[in-house]
């Protein structure tokens, strides 16, 4: 017994090594809700504070580019206003405001931390529970889709970036009827894939990919990317389309958090449908 104890004592550093590795690997692979909550609640605040301080200092150097982006977006939004259109069709129609229910609400936020190096990348933004942000809200920049809120603390939110192995949303090629799913390529921070587009659709290089009306996270028509390359997938029934992401993940600053105001209702009806099938 004493010899056994001596042998074990001699290997004590190996046991400590195994214990520490086990903790690290458990953190890496076991993404349980409890563990994520613990990690984010304890550490994200610290990280976010440090990033905020830095952002306050460095942010001034990027104001010119930031203003340029916002000016472009402003111009685009102006072009969507009713006042930017003339009625060319003179038939009489009744305008009933109750016909339109607001489905999406938007909140501007600032990116204070963003990684692109890892296979599962996250972004931290400066809006959290206190400002009404919840898990599952969409996030996009003036250029395109950025991610989905994964976790919120009181004043910050952790966003699952488009550059995440488990990021997937519904999208379509602008002007074409078919809807597919977009994912990140995992290769670099500017390439994604659009899957499940049937072969009878004829996309072309440079075509725009936008969010589809079937997404319950993003409104339809938000830019996702621009087609670079197409190939037929293993099933021989669909295209696998490689595209360049619209959002510039190397330089994210201002983003918008989008809330689907009808999401609960939408989910309720979907649940009802599932239960009655």
């Amino acid at each position: 017994m004493r010899n056994l104890w001596l042998i074990l004592w001699r290997l004590k550093h190996i046991f400590l090594f195994l214990l520490l590795e086990a903790i690290a690997l458990f953190m890496l692979y076991q993404n349980s809700l409890f563990q994520q909550t613990l990690f984010y609640n304890v550490f994200v605040g610290v990280d976010a504070k440090v990033s905020s301080i830095r952002k306050g200092i460095v942010g001034y150097f990027h104001l010119k580019k930031e203003n340029e982006l916002l000016r472009k977006e402003n111009a685009y939004l102006h072009s969507l206003l009713k006042t930017s259109y003339v009625i060319s069709y003179q038939a009489t129609f009744v305008v009933n405001d109750t016909l339109y229910r607001q489905r999406y609400a938007y909140m501007p936020a600032t990116v204070i931390k963003n990684t692109t190096q890892y296979k599962d990348n996250y972004i931290i933004i400066d809006k959290g529970k206190a400002q009404g942000v919840k898990e599952g809200f969409g996030v996009f920049s003036p250029e395109g889709v950025v991610g989905i809120v994964d976790h919120v603390t009181e004043n910050y939110a952790v966003v699952r970036s488009f550059l995440h192995s488990k990021f997937i949303i519904s999208a379509q090629i602008k002007g074409k009827p078919s809807v597919g799913n977009v994912t990140w390529s995992g290769k670099d921070f500017y390439t994604g894939y659009l899957h499940d587009i049937p072969l009878h659709i004829k996309p072309a290089d440079g075509d725009t990919i936008i969010t589809s009306p079937y997404s319950d996270i993003f409104p339809a028509g938000i830019f996702v990317g621009f087609i670079k390359k197409m190939e037929i997938d293993e099933t021989n029934s669909f295209y696998r389309i490689e595209f360049r992401l619209a959002a510039d993940f190397s330089n994210l600053s201002t983003v918008y958090v989008v809330t689907n105001l009808l999401k609960d209702e939408q989910e309720e009806i979907q649940q009802f449908q599932i239960e009655n099938q």
């Binding site: 550093h13 400590l16 520490l20 903790i23 690290a24 994520q36 890892y118 599962d120």
Partner: protein, 174 residues
């Protein structure tokens, strides 16, 4: 003597953590690679240490890097492994294999050639572990070798640069 070594180590640790947290975590190089300057602290960590100290310190340094990159456990796993093999690796580069007094493992102690080679081993191990663990956890195939090579080169260049900077500062002050 030991006290001076620890003070020197802690000053360097503070500098690299400050640079990592406020500068290097925000700039991607060669496409999308972050420089892991904190590895420098692990590279120079004094030897010999009590049996529990090296592993625990490395684990905590890795965990701190994880906190500031929002990746849970990745650097902690890599740093702990490096801490386990590091004493043997250092001894590999020493002519005189007998017990050594506590020293910082920097270029002044090993000489630039040996220290460079030692750093190359460490940064390679780190890149290998970091990317292999990620590929296992995400099932995204390909690009593993490219990522390991580029990350190794990038970290190597910056670790050598920071060491050159530290050595020149120390020389000036002495």
């Amino acid at each position: 003597m030991n006290r001076n070594i620890w003070i020197s180590f802690l000053i360097r640790l503070f500098i690299v953590f400050f640079l990592q947290i406020f500068v290097f975590n925000y700039y991607e190089w060669l496409g999308s690679y972050l420089v892991c300057l904190v590895l420098y602290a692990l590279v120079i960590l004094p030897i010999p240490l009590p049996w529990y100290a090296g592993l625990t310190l490395a684990f905590l340094m890795g965990l701190l890097e994880d906190i500031f990159t929002t990746v849970q456990g990745l650097h902690a796993a890599s740093f702990t492994f490096i801490a386990l093999v590091r004493p043997s690796l250092v001894r590999l580069f020493l002519k005189n294999k007998q017990e050594i007094d506590m020293v910082l493992i920097d270029s002044t102690y090993l000489g630039w050639n040996k220290w460079g080679l030692y750093v190359l081993f460490v940064v390679f191990m780190d890149a290998f572990i970091i990317f292999t663990l990620q590929y296992f956890s995400t099932n995204i195939a390909g690009y593993l070798l490219r990522d390991i090579v580029l990350q190794t080169l990038l970290n190597f260049v910056f670790l050598v640069a920071i060491e050159a900077l530290m050595v020149s500062v120390v020389k000036k002050n002495s």
